[in-house]
């Protein structure tokens, strides 16, 4: 039988219990291996994208802008400038003679048309090669229009998505510290790393408000430039999806002394733990009481609601492949809550610490994989006889082609999966795929007797 992975990738796959943990990660994707990863630009673009009153101008040929047009289901309660796809659409003559003039003119035109509160200018591969001076152009436009105009150093080839997160954090950091913080409560926080997919940040904000905490800035779901400018006034940074915004929290801690905690809003356990951690941070007994009450109420509602799903789904097998590992921790726990077993878990850009944590919380025999590809994923799904695969758009056809259920847990999804309600939606999502009658027709079910 042919090896599943290319030799160079064998050390990026680990099976819990079979060998000491020695997974290699955080390295460049192997040429020709068909990684599921995107690029630096993608990382920056998806993090900054939900800032709804900023202009997001992609400086490059048309592809980079058009493939990220309205890419996240990040909702806004007000302006929706972020949902438009702006590009300088560089042409051959711009590549030869330089694109600075076109960028300058495009920025002016768009700022006059839309009156944004700030502008982010994304660098793409080609801009890195032809050497346009983005800083100079941005400075010039900033002076002319009196709004922050911020270059995002996101040349696609300069690393993977993780480097793009860093570039996004660097860009946002330039905004922080500009706003007036005098009216901010001492019980206040910033939400980092939630992107308001399907309105999730509104649910989370409501929890904080019930606890008596003021939310200063959403970073970045339903984000606003003015809020981010006063983010340094918050007492705490609460960081989800730590891969994308932890760097910003670290920079803020260093410059403004803002402490941070890492949380996850997925699954009952992690959601409750997040709220308790925050209440403990503020050392206010009344707040802790309110938090306990909140969690109790929410969990009570959920326990009965989840029961039918647990019954139907108990014993089924799940596989997970997501962008960052932190989400995977919560998913492992969430599946456990509905009595399902996770047999494979992987991510595009997990760190060694992330994978160690995964190794700690998964069952023996679980496959743990870094920067995987369609052929590997396919063979894992088949080998483990998986009932549902959790991933993004690129993983979906892999599952469906083999007649395996699928749950979208990426930035395009339309169902809120965070928070207490999110756990119920998640169970429903899993249920509506696993329990569909369509699987009776797929070849997999016809040849495999109903032994499972």
């Amino acid at each position: 039988m042919e090896a599943i992975a290319l030799q160079e990738r064998e050390n990026q796959i680990h099976i819990k219990g079979e060998a000491p943990f020695n997974l290699v990660c955080n390295k460049d994707s192997l040429a020709g291996a068909i990684s599921q990863r995107a690029c630096v630009f993608c990382g920056s673009r998806v993090v900054l994208y939900p800032i709804a009153d900023a202009l997001h101008l992609v400086h490059g040929p048309i592809g980079c802008a058009v493939y990220t047009w309205d890419i996240r289901g990040a909702l806004s309660s007000g302006p929706e400038l972020h949902r438009l796809s702006f590009s300088t659409d560089l042409q051959e003559k711009d590549v030869i003679f330089g694109g600075e003039k076109k960028l300058l003119a495009a920025l002016g035109e768009l700022i006059e048309r839309h009156s944004p509160k700030a502008a982010f200018v994304y660098s793409t591969c080609i801009v890195g090669i032809i050497g346009d001076d983005l800083d100079a152009v941005c400075r010039q436009v900033e002076a002319a229009y009196g709004i922050p105009v911020i270059p995002v150093k996101s040349e696609g080839f300069k690393g993977n998505k993780r480097a793009g997160y860093q570039a996004a954090c660097d860009a946002m950091f330039r905004l922080i510290g500009k706003g007036d913080t005098s009216s901010i409560s001492k019980h206040s926080l910033n939400i980092l790393g939630d992107f308001n997919l399907a309105g999730e940040i509104w649910m989370i904000r409501e929890y904080y408000e019930r606890m008596g905490i003021e939310v200063v800035a959403n970073i970045t779901g339903d984000g606003r430039v003015a809020d981010i400018e006063r983010a340094h006034g918050a007492a705490l940074n609460v960081v989800q999806c730590s891969g994308s915004t932890m760097q910003l929290a670290n920079m803020m801690e260093e410059k403004f002394g803002t402490p941070s905690i890492r949380v996850s809003y997925f699954g009952i356990e992690d959601m409750a733990e997040a709220l308790y951690d925050i209440a403990r941070f503020f050392k206010d007994p009344a707040m802790m009481e309110r938090t306990k009450k909140l969690v109790e109420e929410e969990v009570k509602k959920l326990a009965t609601a989840l029961e039918p799903y647990r019954k139907a789904l108990g014993g089924k097998k799940a596989a997970i492949y997501v962008g960052g590992s932190f989400k995977a921790f919560s998913l492992v726990k969430a599946f456990r809550l509905i009595d399902m077993q996770v047999v494979m878990v992987g991510s595009q850009t997990g760190t060694r610490e992330d994978y160690l944590e995964l190794e700690a919380i998964t069952d023996p025999g679980t496959i743990i994989v870094d920067d995987s590809n369609p052929l590997e994923l396919t063979s894992f799904l088949k080998e483990k006889e998986v009932d549902i695969f959790v991933g993004g758009v690129k993983e979906r056809p892999i599952a469906y082609k083999l007649g395996i259920g699928f749950c979208d847990h990426n930035h395009e999804r339309k169902e809120a999966l965070a928070g207490f309600e999110g756990m119920l939606n998640f169970a429903q999502e899993v249920y509506s795929s696993v329990m569909s009658p369509v699987w009776q027709f797929v070849p997999r079910k016809k040849s495999v007797p109903s032994s499972r």
């Binding site: 192997l30 990684s35 048309i62 300088t88 659409d89």
Partner: protein, 458 residues
């Protein structure tokens, strides 16, 4: 009587907002997916391949593996040759392809990578190894041309690098351009019904619309066989759909230049008149009359046009998308009494207006505004003064349709907000039947929904 509105000037903005085009390498990857046993390969950074896969999957809901050289910063400085070769070896080892089809990106074009030279070196290095795939490469810098230029350049490269001459045979080459999987299937049926030996290039009928499987196929079954492509220089004629292809060097042009294969370039067979043209050509080439099946299909279509004509007459349509499809749709609309008021494309062939004038002829009381190089901001701006009743194009026009509160008839690529984009039939009498029913029912439904009565008959 409709009156002519003052002719609007094309807006001339420097920035692009919501583009009505995709980049060149994406088109090349789509064309390569229509070749049997081929793995598309992008010589560039990792993101391009991933973005394009995601974009294509959202339309087809099918796996599409696009390999990448995954270039990083040091390769951008020292050249991407070593990674290209490593990637080829890895793809060959894991996928066992018959062909690796390589397209460049803006990164590798700008750093000046000579892919042709790298491939010759690679072939030299691997001389004597058995089972190595054929290598085909095309230059597709994303800063020049759209995905359609990429699509046709990829087919041109395929033919140029694989096809050879030889004793002439009875085969007819059919290069229909970028159409849906259902369209490619229909073309197979039509060519077979005329009893023609034919080579359909490319062929996405199976590769991008396959069945549910027990075993995952590393490379999806189907596509134009390499052997057939190699023999295309021996064919007795080439049919190519694409009235706006003029400025490009297409597969048909290359076959004509290298092997003197007569090239018949016609419009996409959308609607009765353009399909008639295609069938007349097939009658000539096959020496047979149109098979009865299609004569009957045409008869039913005419009958349906008559039954439904009142519901669509005088309606005003905005059409956008790939130039050749826009021309085809324009032809269909004018023959059923719908007035195209704005025809727009992100492409810049320089031939769109003329091609549209040719299909609309003197059937219109008001000539549509026709603009190339358009984005959706400009289309929306022009739409304001045009009182459209419907919009025809791919799913990215949805915000405009929503703003105007009028139906969007989804055709072409991409369809990201509905299932089954690959199964939309555009071509032939069957495609015209589908489009006519869809358009007519959309007009009827709009009137019914807007009516205070909620009537039960049309």
């Amino acid at each position: 009587m409709s009156k002519n509105p003052p002719r609007a000037k094309k807006p001339n903005y420097i920035s692009t907002t919501n583009a009505c085009k995709l980049c060149k390498p994406l088109g090349a990857c789509l064309a390569f997916k229509g070749i049997e046993g081929a793995v598309p390969y992008l010589h560039g950074s990792q993101g391009c391949a991933t973005y394009m896969r995601r974009y294509i999957i959202s339309h087809y809901n099918e796996p599409i593996d696009i390999a990448s050289s995954s270039l990083s910063e040091k390769h951008a400085v020292y050249g991407g040759g070593p990674n290209l070769k490593l990637g080829l070896t890895n793809v060959a080892a894991k996928y066992r392809p018959d062909i690796i089809a390589i397209a460049t990106t803006c990164l590798t074009e700008t750093i000046g990578d000579d892919v042709g030279m790298y491939l010759r070196e690679y072939q030299e290095d691997t001389k004597g190894s058995v089972g190595l795939p054929s290598l085909v490469h095309v230059s597709t810098p994303s800063y020049s041309g759209t995905h359609m230029e990429g699509f046709h350049a990829a087919l041109g490269a395929m033919v140029d690098q694989l096809s050879a001459g030889g004793p002439a045979n009875e085969t007819v080459n059919l290069l229909p351009g970028f159409v849906s999987s259902a369209d490619y299937r229909l073309l197979h049926e039509i060519m077979a019904a005329f009893d023609l030996n034919y080579t359909l290039l490319p062929d996405l009928s199976e590769t991008m619309d396959g069945p549910a499987l027990l075993e995952y196929e590393k490379i999806q079954a189907g596509g134009t066989p390499q052997k057939a492509i190699r023999a295309m220089g021996c064919s007795r004629a080439t049919i190519e759909f694409g009235p706006t292809l003029g400025p490009l060097t297409t597969g048909g042009d290359i076959l004509a230049a290298k092997f003197n294969t007569p090239l018949h370039r016609i419009g996409m067979p959308v609607g009765i008149r353009e399909t008639d043209r295609f069938f007349r050509l097939l009658e000539t080439l096959s020496g047979r009359p149109t098979p009865e099946k299609y004569a009957k299909e045409r008869g039913r279509l005419v009958d349906a046009y008559v039954d439904g004509h009142k519901y669509v007459f005088g309606k005003r349509a905005i059409i956008y998308g790939e130039e050749d499809l826009v021309v085809g749709m324009c032809s269909l609309l004018t023959e059923i009494g719908i007035q195209p008021v704005l025809c727009a494309s992100g492409g810049t062939s320089g031939r769109l207006a003329q091609a549209i004038a040719e299909v609309t002829g003197d059937t219109l009381t008001e000539q549509p505004q026709v603009f190339e190089g358009m984005d959706f901001y400009e289309i929306s701006e022009l739409a304001e003064g045009l009182s459209p009743d419907l919009i025809i194009g791919h799913s990215k026009g949805y915000p405009l349709a929503r703003k105007c509160a009028i139906p969007l008839i989804r055709v072409g690529f991409p369809i990201h907000d509905r299932v089954g984009g690959q199964r939309i039939l555009h071509l032939g009498y069957a495609g015209a039947q589908h489009l006519f029913d869809t358009i007519t029912n959309a007009m009827i439904a709009k009137k019914q929904d807007d009516s205070p009565v909620g009537y039960l008959y049309m």
